[in-house]
């Protein structure tokens, strides 16, 4: 079994209104040291396979077909082994 930790980020140059808004709120709370906030999405996907390269292929497809929109997103992932079900 594998767990894929998938992170979906906004591409460089794509506006991140959520990050900007969060930064504003953090400043209001007194965190004056904050200079940038970027938001991203994180998915942890468990796969029932013994073959790591197969898992990798699957995760790549998942990102392309659903989890990321190539127009604004870029994705990265780490795959790790886990025991049992």
């Amino acid at each position: 079994m594998f767990i894929a930790d998938i992170r979906i980020k906004l591409k460089k140059g794509v506006a991140d209104p959520e990050g900007k808004n969060t930064m504003k709120a953090l400043e209001l709370l007194g965190f004056y040291e904050v200079v940038a906030v970027d938001t991203s999405k994180f998915f942890s996907v468990k796969l029932d396979t013994q073959d790591e390269s197969e898992a990798r292929t699957q995760v790549e497809k998942m990102c392309q077909n659903l989890l990321a929109n190539p127009v604004i997103n870029e994705y990265s992932y780490d795959i790790r082994t886990v025991e049992g079900a």
Partner: protein, 277 residues
């Protein structure tokens, strides 16, 4: 074909919330709409009598709402479910020139499915555009003014006058239409050249204006686009919410009519499809 024989599929899944107004808009004009759950088209987990064939319909409407809780991205889950089971019939539906209307969440679904902007064939395998989070990072809900920019490519706007301004409410958090940054301007030009831009946000003077007249920060103020053939329209504002004059915000000031600004979109497509089939 007679109006009463025109069949309209008002598609819904969990989280759709504009199907009633959409249904009534077509019904009140004398057509024959039916609310159809996605499962009825895919044939999964439904009775034999509940199964429907997409090709029995002439118009497909994907109404607004928060399908599947807007998880992953607005419209992404619905698009994935349609793509997995209905790619072939949907492509055929569009190729035959039948009409597809996506409003709000429906527009997001059409973009995520690759039907809009439709610059590389009927359906692209990955999305060519996205409806991104509003510039304000908030849900923007208010009447918006739309200028009719199309040169009659779209079959949904044949009864509009060139440059006409409609008051149609917007209600969305992800409505900023973006294309890949490296070729965005080229795509805008292509949309212009193909006459695919249908509506743009304007201010009361009819000028292109920024926030709040453009509720989401969409570049070039784009509110709605169609495919190159004109039979697929996606728009963020809700025409079904202003079918009647009395649902306009200034209804007490009266205009001696019960015709709301959104009605013409439904009239146009019904007239077109009646003639075609």
């Amino acid at each position: 074909m007679k109006l009463e024989d025109l069949k309209i599929c008002i598609l819904r899944i969990e989280g759709t919330n504009c199907e009633d107004e959409s249904f009534q808009a077509f019904k009140r004009l004398g057509a024959n709409p039916e609310m159809v759950h996605l499962k009825q088209l895919t044939g999964q987990d439904v009775l034999e009598t509940e199964k429907r064939d997409l090709m029995d319909f002439h118009i497909l409407m994907i109404p607004g709402g928060f399908s599947s809780g807007d998880y992953v991205r607005a419209g992404a889950i619905w698009a994935a479910r349609m793509k997995s089971k209905l790619s072939a019939p949907l492509t055929e539906f569009v190729r035959e020139g039948r009409a597809v209307l996506g409003v709000c969440n429906g527009f997001q679904v059409l973009v995520e499915m690759g039907f809009l902007p439709g610059l590389n064939g009927i359906m692209s395998s990955v999305p060519d555009a996205v409806l991104a989070t509003n510039e304000s990072s908030r849900f923007e809900c208010r009447p918006t003014l739309l200028k009719y920019e199309n040169n009659y490519t779209s079959i949904f706007t044949q009864k509009l006058k060139s440059g006409q301004i409609l008051l149609i409410p917007s209600a969305h958090a992800e409505g900023k239409l973006l294309f890949p940054p490296e070729k965005a301007e080229k795509i805008y030009q292509q949309l212009e050249d193909n006459d695919q831009i249908v509506f743009k946000y304007v201010d009361p003077d009819g000028e292109y204006a920024g926030y709040p007249w453009n509720p989401n920060g969409s570049p070039h103020n784009i509110a709605g686009i169609c495919n190159p053939a004109g039979n697929v329209l996606g728009m963020m504002p809700h025409p079904e919410r202003v079918f009647h004059r009395f649902t306009h915000p200034d209804w007490t000031r009266g205009f001696g009519t019960d015709i709301g600004d959104g009605r013409v979109i439904f009239e146009s497509v019904l007239e077109h499809v009646c003639k075609k089939f």
